[in-house]
Symmetry: C2
Subunit: 396 residues, 2 copies
């Protein structure tokens, strides 16, 4: 800003003083406004936004200290230079504490007033520049933050978009599944795949890539494609797990592996064959006796770097589904959820929820209830790991 | 902080005043230190970090205003209350502008001094609290920024890790390839795949997922897996593109598509068969006549949502590779690079670089030269799109 183009507001109840200062400062090419008391002065500041205010202390209506308070209260950006003929140290200190930039004693030396104005303008310029730079820095940082948030949000949407948005319709059965990631992105995954054109056999799978966040998420996205090919021409869960294991080995990082459990439902026979890759969290609820049994057999994780000949073996178990029976597969984010005291939710409580709700609940409501129960258990403690559940219910 | 436990430093050259204030303030349970001039006072501030300094203006060695300057210069966190018997308005204003918190006139009223100290302590407490909150906010934001940067960096590493880290060894040929993403992650992709166990036929591919950043990156990561399966049992580029197209349709978002060019080199016959999915950027340099010809035939992008029967047709062309011949496939980030005047790099300049360098350069140095030439062309303008190049050179 050109200093000479600066606007000066002179606030004084004595017309002589206003006129003398106005002439002098206009001669020096400042734009000069005047006011005869604090109320008028505040009104002019609001409209004209002067760069500097030369402010008399003793005035009628609203005095200088009152006007200083008005400037502070209204957060009006200007520099105030106090002028007074009735100076005491107390009032000078009061004015400075009230936000004045400088203090001039009347009668005012014209040289002096211009020197003080120049100094105030320079100080204001520096303060504005400083504020501008601070704001630019903040905006740049906010922008970066927004862009990164957007990218991570997209990764989240992309990952969630790979999992089923709705459940398949199966005569005599209900199925529901959901993945609740702890971060924007994570390593949990579930899916349903028809194993034949005639839709007589449906595979459902819950998997969990080791690690968290983006590292795990990128592997789940690739896993989604690998799964699609590895189910082709296969119907036994053990064969699918074996295919996935072989396809992942050496391709997902030496320290990364995938645990998972696959159930393959033969809709006509009402039999689910289950195989597990280090993913024991699968329960079968039998309505006739009200019991909940763990049904996942043992097996090593998929994609691990193992000596030749080790792993790749996935025994199967069978579960016969009768009316009211449930099959629930879930990820370790559920039993490992912790409350404020550090206690775990644990598998036993999952079994309890299944037993307690199996009678009345649909697959969907049982799943919702389980996830809500974990949330309530955790209380204020944030969710630290992804949670995934698939529930299959035999209706008739 | 308990106000009563606050430390007060009294700086005055008159011993009587120091003693009176010390007694009075100690009686009120303040911890009181004394100094008899500004130099001593500054030394005590540095060591004892008093909460409040009661500072005489007129002193030998270093006076009050000098000591105020020392406090400001040393960025010493304390509240200074000026005490003076020789007050003028100018000096009071000077002291306040110099950073003093308040101003007391001697002889000092003991009630007054305690009131002013309490006010200064409260003000200091608020200022500290404010600074602490500002800093906590800044740290939280920095932490978030760091975590997000880390996640995006991981996505970058994951994506880059899917592309070849080194080139295959082929008798009689050299091959070099590189992807330079514009952002942390992007939609460009390249790879080499042996089409048979005996390694007699090598496919090399450059692909570009539409869109940018994370959205495109997640599709390239999935594309990497799909490619692996779709090359199986196939040797003709047109069949591979057809397989990829069918596998991607309806699975990568309605508005997303993948362009790409595949060359399949028969090492023994020295013939490259080339097919392209809307990716015309492939040049064949023939050493015998020094000419550069575009060799990518036309074809629609892969994975597009098209009416039934439309697309999926990828004609092939053949290029015979003789000693010194080059095949260069690259992505549109190269011809579409812009300089400060908005001019494009353009395919013609790629052809020019190939022609100019083909004689002396290895596949690797030609690729490096092309990428460097684009960088130099762009100058200060940032890279806006990913750049990928694969160069195959026939050696003998």
């Amino acid at each position: 800003m050109d200093e000479k183009a600066a606007t000066i507001l002179v606030v004084d109840d004595e017309e002589d003083i206003r006129e003398v200062l106005k002439d002098r400062l206009e001669f020096s090419s400042y734009r000069v406004l005047t006011a005869s008391n604090g109320v008028e002065g505040l009104a002019r500041i609001r409209v004209e936004r002067p760069d500097v205010v030369l402010l008399d202390l003793q005035m009628p209506v609203l005095d200088g200290l009152g006007m200083l308070q008005g400037i502070a209260a209204g957060q009006l950006e200007t520099c105030v230079i106090i002028m007074t003929a009735h100076g005491t140290i107390q009032r000078a200190v009061q004015a400075m504490k009230g936000g004045a930039t400088d203090f001039l004693l009347k009668p005012i030396d014209p040289e002096d007033v211009e020197r003080v104005i120049r100094r105030a303008l320079e100080q204001a310029r520096l303060r504005r520049e400083n504020l501008r730079l601070q704001q630019a820095l903040r905006e740049a940082q906010d922008q970066l933050l927004l862009e990164m948030q957007r990218e991570l949000r997209i990764a989240h949407e992309m990952q969630m978009g790979l999992m089923p948005q709705e459940s398949p319709t199966i005569a005599g059965f209900e199925i529901a599944g959901m993945c609740v990631p702890a971060n924007e992105v994570g390593g949990d995954y579930f899916n349903y795949v028809w194993l034949d054109e005639g839709r007589t056999r449906l595979a459902f799978l819950v998997a969990d890539v080791s690690g968290k966040g983006m590292a795990a998420a990128t592997v789940t996205m690739r896993f989604n494609e690998v799964l699609r090919y590895e189910v082709q021409g296969r119907s036994a869960p053990q064969d699918i797990l074996r295919g996935l294991d072989a396809a992942l080995r050496g391709r997902i990082g030496e320290l990364t592996f995938v645990t998972g459990c696959i159930g393959a439902l033969d809709v006509a026979k009402r039999v689910v064959r289950i195989a597990s890759a280090a993913h024991p969290m699968a329960y079968h609820y039998t309505a006739k006796d009200g019991l909940v049994r763990q049904v996942a057999p043992s097996g090593l994780p998929m994609g691990m770097t193992l000596p030749p000949g080790v792993g790749g073996d996935y025994p199967e178990v069978e579960a016969l589904m009768e009316a009211g029976d449930l099959l629930v597969i879930y990820s370790d984010g559920i039993p490992e959820a912790q409350d404020a005291k550090g206690a775990f939710y644990e598998d036993a409580r999952v079994a309890e929820v299944i037993r307690g709700r199996a009678g009345q609940a649909s697959a969907q409501t049982l799943m919702d209830h389980l996830l809500r129960d974990v949330d309530e258990f955790r209380g204020e403690i944030p969710q630290l790991d992804d949670m995934t559940v698939v529930v299959v219910k035999c209706l008739e």
